[in-house]
Structure formats: structure tokens, C-alpha cells
Symmetry: D2
Subunit: 358 residues, 4 copies
């Protein structure tokens, strides 16, 4: 209700600014008796952590997570899991320019209009740094989902350059700095993105997240539909401007015949779908197939080319944003998208148990 | 939490099945002292009502709304506004086939897996008929928004055929059966859709909804961002598979320079944006510009060509769906999308007041 | 959030005014495959219905409930259960006096201050008539709880006259018009209340509600504790001014030794409590013992003796309230208290399932 | 929904166990531009802090609060205010006995049944230590309420000994270790409680909290009534077993004539109430009078006299609880009750603004 919580039964609340002492997340509604240590969470944070290649911001922070509550002798107790990450690389740079001007594409102007005050240092609350908290919550959500469920993401497009789906190999995702499942595309992207980076520019991207191993029946029509909650989840990630389920906008161009996911009897008399254009969701409820979500990330708004803007006094001025920035913020959105999907699914898995028959 | 409510401070709950005695919506959180009569709501229902052209289902119902509570002497009292629409055209047709088989693309299979029971008559709860309740709630939301705010929608694509935005004329939307703002496209669509209809097929579409006249500052980061709530709102509409804000997926293909909405000082020293690629939302908060949302609607799953499926016993079978259907369900999604946007905005307007300074 | 809903997973929303066309409740989150017909609900409404003895208001209405949705072939479908009760005895009396003056003890003044408008006919939304909707929701909640759970209430005090707990007999509750478990007290109350009634006065009362057959483990500390939710539930009933769990306020007078519910090993090695001063709740979680709640109901504010008040213009005046009234509104609060407890328990039972281990 | 949050628009979430590294609270929905520093919060924590007299537990901790987010240059920014208090006095005592046995009156058994695991050190999550977080949140809530609103509490009964209300003096509350408004009672209580303390026993108490300076109109009928939310708020405090509004249970003994708060025209033509038996709430909405809540606190369950219980294996045993304990835990409940009332009122004040007319 107050804006900084997500989920119902599996619910997390994040806090913290880019340049405050720390950021954190409280995960409430995590069932008891799940094994959980910092070592379960840290790898996911490391995956999101900046500064690991020349294609992400050079901010250098260990993003070391601490469990402050909710775990006893290595197991969750059912009480809130409080996770904290200290901010260690808040450079004491000169913020006078971004304090005085609104950076186009950033939340500077809207925070100013809404709140009448903003912590302009590094973007404050609107910084992508907050997404580390989502990733930490997502690591806990994965524990709720259990080992039978896989949630994994990939970058499928940078600027105009898409992956070739015939070359899709999940194992390749960890072999390049783009989380790209197509090794040939990854090689081409490296050159392309070097050009973007060297010119001080930035570029948009598309992320795809796929969850496997979930039962049919997740999702609560009509307003807590699984796809509705996934759409909200992804759209709240910084810089996201569009969300699709399954074939998404392509569905608008198809006939009913083309778009039908036909069914056949499977080996155990459970039906099997012959395709998955629906992305694993019908009527807002999971079908048991892979759940497929895609989202578009706009280019980083911080670029070296000056842009027209106004200052706090309403006067015309220009601004260019120096410093550490991601040439393609979509790359680091991959683990964030995975985390958000894991949280949505964990929430709906608990809800499903609540209403389940006999 | 239980699935059939939407919103926080302006919150509605819908109920009812396609072939039950009635459907309805309870709007809770409507401020007092707004003038409201059935005549304020009925025109929006009439706009959504099927059977008005050969391009929508021939189900014939007056969709007459009754106000059962919350209004006294023509004004809202601040108590729940209960609205009911009786179902009058529930033909007693033979449902034995759809009772026994899962229609591909419909929610038959997932409702069955989730609930173990389903009211298969006309789709039951998953019928598009429920969207009449959204439209009724949206009419109340428009009262909350006031006359200074406009929320209007248009069909911008049918199948592969898009409108030409250089010919966009809002006044044309009511001049054709497609809510199409481009009269030339509307004429072409008529032929195209006649072909679809006569072949017993169906086709997808894209709807665009635009809100004007809202102040900057609406939206509650980070998880109740305005765009997140809009994405959820649209994705919960029947058959929607994708949602975009502003330039949406196109943002993925742009550079930071191209995507920046630059600002200049306006006449009253308030900044003016030189473009609106962001769709009126930055950092999850409204900028004061038009709020622009688009969503993709898949083709109606009910078609006359048989599709492979299984029956309740898990045996292979085929199904074709006779009866009254929309060749392009996206058309009637236009007033529904408008209604959902009005509801999201009314909710955030109330929230904005709660937190507003001074 | 908007005020007219109660519960989280088992959640109901009520609507309607005393003198509108109908009142109703939408129960959302009712699991599927429960048998439910109007005949399951009607007896509970009949129990609450006024006009059944000279000790309750003489308003005569059948309070006939209709199921409008959520049930298919006698079973719940998991979709919202919409229940409606038409108002049939709205006498077209002269409301000019209560329209112009604030009745002391009633909500007239506060509704006026809050909303700037009020439906003064019969109390409008603040009428005890709304509690019929709670009772209807409670009947559905009992289905969720199942046959193994009993929720029953009794009147334990009228004015200064308490029952003698040594004579407590649940079977007596239905043998007198007071829901009194002590037949001797009931006889005495009849005389006492006749005096109150004939003098046009009214009197307060205390209701006790007891639930049996629930497992240990219900309740979600720290803020959704079972006792916290029960306290809220009861305090929202019209005219309630106090709520106790177990020994309640008496606990304030006891030492730790006196107040301890000691435990001994039971037959199946599950512990047994040697007393139940805690009322079945420790740390906000059910112990498996009976859950015991008591609440105080103030005297009906409508009395025949004139009371000082002011009118809408702020001028001094007097008012006396003619018409049909309950000399002891606490009597009819018994089935309402039962219903609210059933709803709280059904909600927590579903929540319990969501988080349950293994 | 998940249990550890309270409030809607002004919403806080607490985390932490008695013997973990820290406890904390995230306050979400605090409006921007309120001045806030640690010095605004610390005095309220100091008031609740144990070890300040021989009548409270001798646990010695500074309870030093740190603001981790949500404040920039001394003002709130509208983003979550994260507050943390490190645990510094977790003695490494031997917990083997309370790990193996259920202490009567404590939450040991119910946490075990619910979660299958419990952090038994110092009570873990069910420790009264958590109430420090409520007090911290309450300090922020007071900022939202502003200087015109006063929320203050007092101990009005210890065991059978009540204050004499004719001697009530708010200024005395800070002059004795009991928060007692009656100096003579305070002197008597000192002797009485010394006896309780020396015998290793404990005693219950009653706390009264009064809020002044609030407008009429707060509260959202029918289920978010102000009194309903207050009842829930107080009942969730450790060891609370009963809650009253205004004259509370006494109302059950009164006639309608006695219980009416009559009204007269006030100086500015606003009505004035001639009494406040209703405790400032009618129909769930504030009247503008003082809001008066009382709650009963049971005696501390930890006592030196052995009590019968069972162990984890279900065997009969005895337990006595050595160590640091409050002979009357009701004393320290006074600042906690104040804090909870402040939070409820801040939440409803924001809600009121949302729905306010014109």
C-alpha cells in the first residue's frame, strides 16, 4: 500500500538509497525449516554485481549480504528474514550539478514534483542499486520454490540485434558478459557494445525469463492473475517499458488457428501442449508448461552527449552525465528479472497451497 | 488478496459468471459528494456492449446497470457503490461438448486444474462478459478523476495492419465500429475483418489508451509505480499478452540520445518536455504529460476450424467452437482498457492526496 | 484498504444501506468444491433476524438470501460468492427529524463530519442491518472450517446481571430469546428486560463466543496475531466497546502463578493444558484449546427519553427516537459475533495451509 | 498479509529476534519533508528501555537507534525509513532448559507447533524486545501527526490496585517508575510491587492511552473503523488480553440514558459533547474528542515458582524461569501502547486526507 513492498503471502519490503549507509530487504512470509545461509544468497548478488566487465558500470562494491534475522542454526524460522548490504563505494564526488538540474530520462523531475525533496546522490532511492535487494529476495524465493523449479533469464536483444533462437543454449548464458544464450550473437554484441560504450552512448535491450517445473494452477483470477502479477513485477524494474507473456505482441498479428496451443494426451494421461505460444499461462493460471516473460529495457539515460533540460529554477540548461554508467543497463536486468519472477512464483505457490483441495 | 479485487484506496471487487443470474461490481473507496446516477455509467457499458456491429459477438443484452447502494439523492455517500447487471441472454444451448473438452487457448484446462470444477456455460467466470463490471467501475473512476482528466482509447492495429499515426484523429474513433482513429485504416479493416469473420477465424489486435490532464507526481515507487500498476491492470484483461508504456519495446532499439525526452522551460517556468517517448511516466511517477499505454490482445480462441485437444478423461479429441463470438476481441477491449486506466489513475490520485505536502 | 472488506485469503466485502433496495456481501477466496446452497446460509440469518421476540426490534423482514454467483451445481467453484438480501420493510416514515438532528450515541454526527452527506433513513450504512451480511459470510466461513469445528456464542451478561457459569449449558442457548446458556438467568432477564423495554430504555450486554476443534498453529505473529484479528473483528460490530480473550481484563489482577495454564502430557503424548485462562491463544497463535472471546455491547442509543443534542445548523435541541428498536442490541450481536469469529478462523486456516510444513 | 507489517498508508514492518545481531523496523509511507533525526526517536526508546528501575527487567542495553534510509539532510524524503537497533546484551547463558521445555504462558509451545523450529534464546521473535521497534515507528508517526496532536499513556491499575481518577495528573506520569498519573497510588504500588518482585512473582496491569487534538472524521467504516484498528493494534502487543474504547465493558452495565454523550452548541457553532463515554469514537469514526483506549496486560509468565509443563518429548516436567524479568510487564507497555496508537492515528490521518472533500 505504501509502495515499497511486493507480494502477499511471500512479501518483501526494500529500503535504502544508493549513497546511504546501506540498503536492505525484509522478506516476510518465508516458510520455516528451509535451509538458508548467506552463501545461498551471495552468488545471485555476485551475478548482478557491477564492475565485472567493461560493459557494466565500474562502481566497485562487494555487495556482501548479511542475514540479520529469521534464520536459526541454518534454517528459516518463519519469522522475517532481514537482509542488509552495506554501501561501500559511495564516492564523495561533486553532486552540485545533478542537484541543480533534472537529468532527462531519469526520475529526478518526478521525485522532485512528488516529494519536494530528493536524495540526488547517485539517484538516491531510484538508483538501480536497489535491485540488489530484489535479487536477495529472489534468492530466498528460490528456496521456497525448491530444487524442482528453475528460473533463468537471458538477454535476447541489444538494440536492433536479436539472438538467433535456433542457436539458443542455456549453458552459454554464463560464458559471456551479456547473459546471451547465442554465442555468435554474444561475439557480435561485444563489438557493437564497445562502440556504444566508447562513444559515451547507451542502448536498450530485451530480457527473457523462463521458469520450468511449476505445476498447473498457480494464479488467482481475475485481478491477481499470474500474468498480471508478472507484468507488474517486471514493469517495476528500473528502465523497463514493456512486458510480454509468451508470444506477446506477436499474438496481435496471428489468427486464432495460428495462436492455438493444441493439446494431445500425454504418457500419464495428463494432457500435453503441442506448443507454448501462451507462455505457460491461460486465463491467468499456469498451465504447467514453461512460464515465459520478456521485457524491454530502455537505454541508460546517463550519456556523455549533452541533452537539453531545465534547472530547479525552471531555466533552460544542458546536462551531460559523467561518471560510472552502464552502456546497456539491460544486461544487469537479467538477474533482476529472474529474481522478480522467482518472488512472484513463490508467492503464488504459497497462495496455491492455501486454496488447494483436500 | 483473494483475487477478485483491484486497487487500494479506490478499490473494486467484481463477481458473477457469464450464465449466472447477474454480474456485478462493488466499488469501495469512492469519495463522497460526487454526482452519480445510472445515466453516468450506462453509456460506457453501451460502448462495450456486444452485438452492435457484425464485428463483435451477436450476444444481445441490454447490459442495464442498477445502482444498489452508495448513492443518496444523486450523490455518492462515501459508502460502497454496488452495481449489478442482470444476465438476460443466457441461451440454454447444449454445453455438453465444452463441458467434456478443453478448448485450446481458453481457460478451460487451467480452471479445471486449479479448482477441480468449472462453470463451463459461456466460459463462466473467465468470460469476457466480466469486463462489463470493469467498465462500470471505470465510469465511477472517471467521476473521481473529474472533468479535467480525459481517458480515451483506440484500436491501433488489427492483425498486421496498423493505423497511420499521421492521420490520427480522436474524433474518428466513434465513427467506425473499430474505435479506429484513422478513417482510412478503418475502411481497410472492415474488408479485412469481414474476411476473417466469414472464414470463422479470428485475429489479434493492439489497443492504445491515453490519459490527459493529470498532474505530475502520481505513482508510489518502487513497487506501486504507476506503470507497474497499469501493466498489471491491462494484463488482467482477458486475452491480453503484452503491455507497453510510451515507446515500449521500441525503446530497446534506441540509444540514450534518441530516447531522451528533453526539457525546456515552459511559459509559467514549469518545464515542458520536447517529446514523450516515456509515455508520461519516469521512475514510476507521472510527469504531467499524457500517459500512454498499449496492449496486445490475442485472437479469440473460439474459431470454427477444429483444433486438437483432449477431453476430461485425457483422451485425444478435436473441438470447434460454434456460436456467437468476436472475430476480433480486441475491439471490445478498447473501452475495457480505458476503464482499467481510469481506475488505476483514480486510485493513485487518492493516494497522491494522502501523501501530498502542505 | 477502502474500509468495507474483511480478511485476507478468505475475504468478504459488504455493501448496502438500511433503506436501499438491498444489502449484500461478496465472499472472495472461498475454496472450491464445498457444498453450498441458500439453505446452508438461511438458518444463520434467521437466528439473527429481528422481530422474533418482544426483546428485539419489530422490523419484520424475511432476510431471504440469494446466491448470485460462485456456486455451480451445488458446489463452490472458487470464484466470488455473491450473496444478496433484499430490503422489504423500509417503511416510508417521516425522517425529517433525524435528518436534521444528530442522535447522541449514533454515528449521525461522525458520518456527517466525515462524508458531508449521509443516508439518514434507518441509519443508512451504519445500521445494524448490515450485520446480516456478516452472518451470511459467516455461514460460508463455517463451510470452510468444516464439520469438525464448532463456533457458538452466548449472551453472558445483560446490564449488571451475569450468568452463573456453574449452570452453563450450551443446549439452553436456543431455548430462550436471549441466547442465554443459564436457564435461571434467562428467566430473570426476561423480567428485567421487560422493564427496560416498557420504559423505552435500553441496556448493554456482554457476548461470549467459543470456537472448538481447531488445531494449534493458527495466527501470524506479530501483527496478524489471531487475537489481534479477533479483537478487530469484534470491535467492528455495531455498538461494541470492548473485547477480551480468555480471562481478559481479569488477567490484570492475577499473579504469574495464578495465570499460568500449566501443561501435562496427554494420552497421545501431545501436551494437555490444565486450564485455559489464555483463551486458546499464546503469542498470537492458537494452542488447540477452545478459543474464547468476549465483547461488550453498549445499550441501544435509540431511547424514548429525550436527550440533548444539536441540529445541522449547530443549534441546541432535543431528540427522542421513536420507532422500532432493540431494548438490548447485544442479543442480536450473538450470531454476529459467531459469524465474525468463523470468518477470522476460516481466513487463518487458509493462511495456515499456505505456510504449513511438508 | 505475511504478519509482520502494520498499517496501510503509514505502514511499518518489523524484524529481528531478541538474541540476533539486531532488531529493526522499516517505516513505509512516511510523507516527505518532515524533520527527522535520531534524536527525535531516541527519547521514546529510552522511555521504554528496561533496567531503569528495579521494577523492570535488568537487561541493560542502550537501544541506540540508527536511521539507515529515508532521511536526507534532516528531512524525510518520502522513501522508506529504515531504523535499526543493535542487540548488545545477549548474554551467552545456558538455554538448554528452555530449549527443551515449554514455558507456560509463553509462546514456546505455539511457535513450536506452528513453525517446527524456534529461536528459544530470550524468546526469539516473541520477546518483548520487539516492542522497541514499535516505539521507534511510533516516534515517526508522531511526526506525521504534528505538534497539535498529543498521544500519552499511563498505568491505571496494577493487580487489584487502581488509580484514583480524581487525583489524575498527567504531569505525575514522569515522576514515578510506573507511568502512574496518581502520585499516591504510585507510592502504594512501589511497596506492593516490591513484594511481588522479591517473591519472584509477577502481576498484571491496565494501561490507558489518550490522544488529543485530532479532528472528527478519522476511521473507515465498516471494517477499518478506528476502534477496530486500535483494538487490533493493542491486542498485538505482547501479553495483552483485553482492549476497551471509552467506558468499554462498563457500557454493558448502563442504560441508553446513562450512556448517551449529549451534545450542546459550542462557541463556534460546532457541537460540543457533554461527556465522552464513547472514548472519542462513534460508528468507527473519531468525534474530535479525546480518543481513549485501555488494555489489560497479563502478568509476566516468567516466575521463580516452578510450574508444571511438558518437554519436547511430551514428558511431564517442571520449569521455573530464572534470570532477568519484569515483575510487571505492563509498566513498559505504556510507551508501546502510545506508539501503537500514534501509528494507527497517523495511518488514518493519511487515509482521511485521501478521501477528504474539496
Amino acid at each position: 500500500m505504501a509502495g515499497n513492498s511486493f507480494g502477499t503471502l511471500f512479501r518483501f519490503t526494500t529500503w535504502g538509497e544508493s549513497h546511504g549507509p546501506a540498503i536492505g530487504v525484509v522478506v516476510d512470509g518465508c516458510p520455516s525449516l528451509l535451509s538458508l545461509t548467506e552463501a545461498d544468497i551471495q552468488p545471485w548478488l555476485d551475478k548482478r554485481r557491477p564492475g565485472q566487465s567493461r560493459y557494466t558500470t565500474q562502481r566497485q562494491e562487494p555487495d556482501q549480504v548479511k542475514i540479520l534475522s529469521g534464520v536459526f542454526e541454518g534454517q528459516t524460522t518463519g519469522t522475517p528474514v532481514s537482509l542488509m548490504i552495506e554501501n561501500t563505494d559511495q564516492r564523495s564526488k561533486d553532486y552540485s550539478e545533478i542537484a541543480a538540474k533534472f537529468r532527462p530520462g531519469h526520475a529526478d523531475y518526478t521525485y522532485w514534483k512528488k516529494y519536494g525533496i530528493r536524495d540526488y546522490r547517485g539517484g538516491g532511492r531510484s538508483s538501480a542499486r536497489e535491485t540488489a535487494c530484489r535479487v536477495a529476495a529472489g534468492a530466498v524465493a528460490r528456496k521456497v520454490l525448491g530444487n524442482g523449479v528453475t528460473v533463468r533469464g537471458a538477454l535476447v536483444q541489444i538494440g536492433p540485434h536479436k539472438v538467433d533462437r535456433s542457436r539458443w543454449d542455456w549453458a552459454e548464458v554464463d560464458n559471456n558478459p551479456f547473459f546471451c544464450p547465442d554465442p555468435q550473437a554474444a561475439a557480435e554484441w561485444a563489438d557493437y557494445l564497445d562502440g556504444i560504450r566508447k562513444s559515451g552512448s547507451s542502448i536498450g535491450a530485451v530480457v527473457e525469463v523462463v521458469a520450468s517445473g511449476l505445476p498447473a494452477g498457480l494464479g488467482d483470477p481475475l485481478y491477481d492473475k499470474l500474468d498480471g502479477d508478472l507484468a507488474r513485477a517486471m514493469m517495476t524494474i528500473n528502465a523497463v517499458k514493456g512486458v510480454e507473456i509468451g508470444n506477446g505482441f506477436e499474438a496481435a498479428t496471428l489468427t486464432g488457428e495460428q495462436n492455438a496451443d493444441e493439446m494431445r494426451a500425454g504418457p500419464d494421461s495428463e494432457p500435453e501442449f503441442r506448443s507454448n505460444l501462451a507462455g505457460g499461462i491461460l486465463g491467468g493460471i499456469s498451465t504447467g508448461q514453461d512460464i515465459v516473460v520478456r521485457f524491454a529495457v530502455k537505454p541508460t539515460s546517463s550519456i556523455l552527449t549533452p541533452r537539453q533540460t531545465v534547472d530547479l529554477q525552471g531555466k533552460d540548461t544542458d546536462i551531460l552525465t559523467k561518471g560510472r554508467h552502464d552502456p546497456c543497463v539491460g544486461i544487469r536486468a537479467v538477474p533482476v528479472g529472474e529474481a522478480m519472477m522467482a518472488c512472484v512464483l513463490a508467492d503464488h505457490l504459497l497462495r496455491h497451497r492455501a486454496y488447494a483441495r483436500g
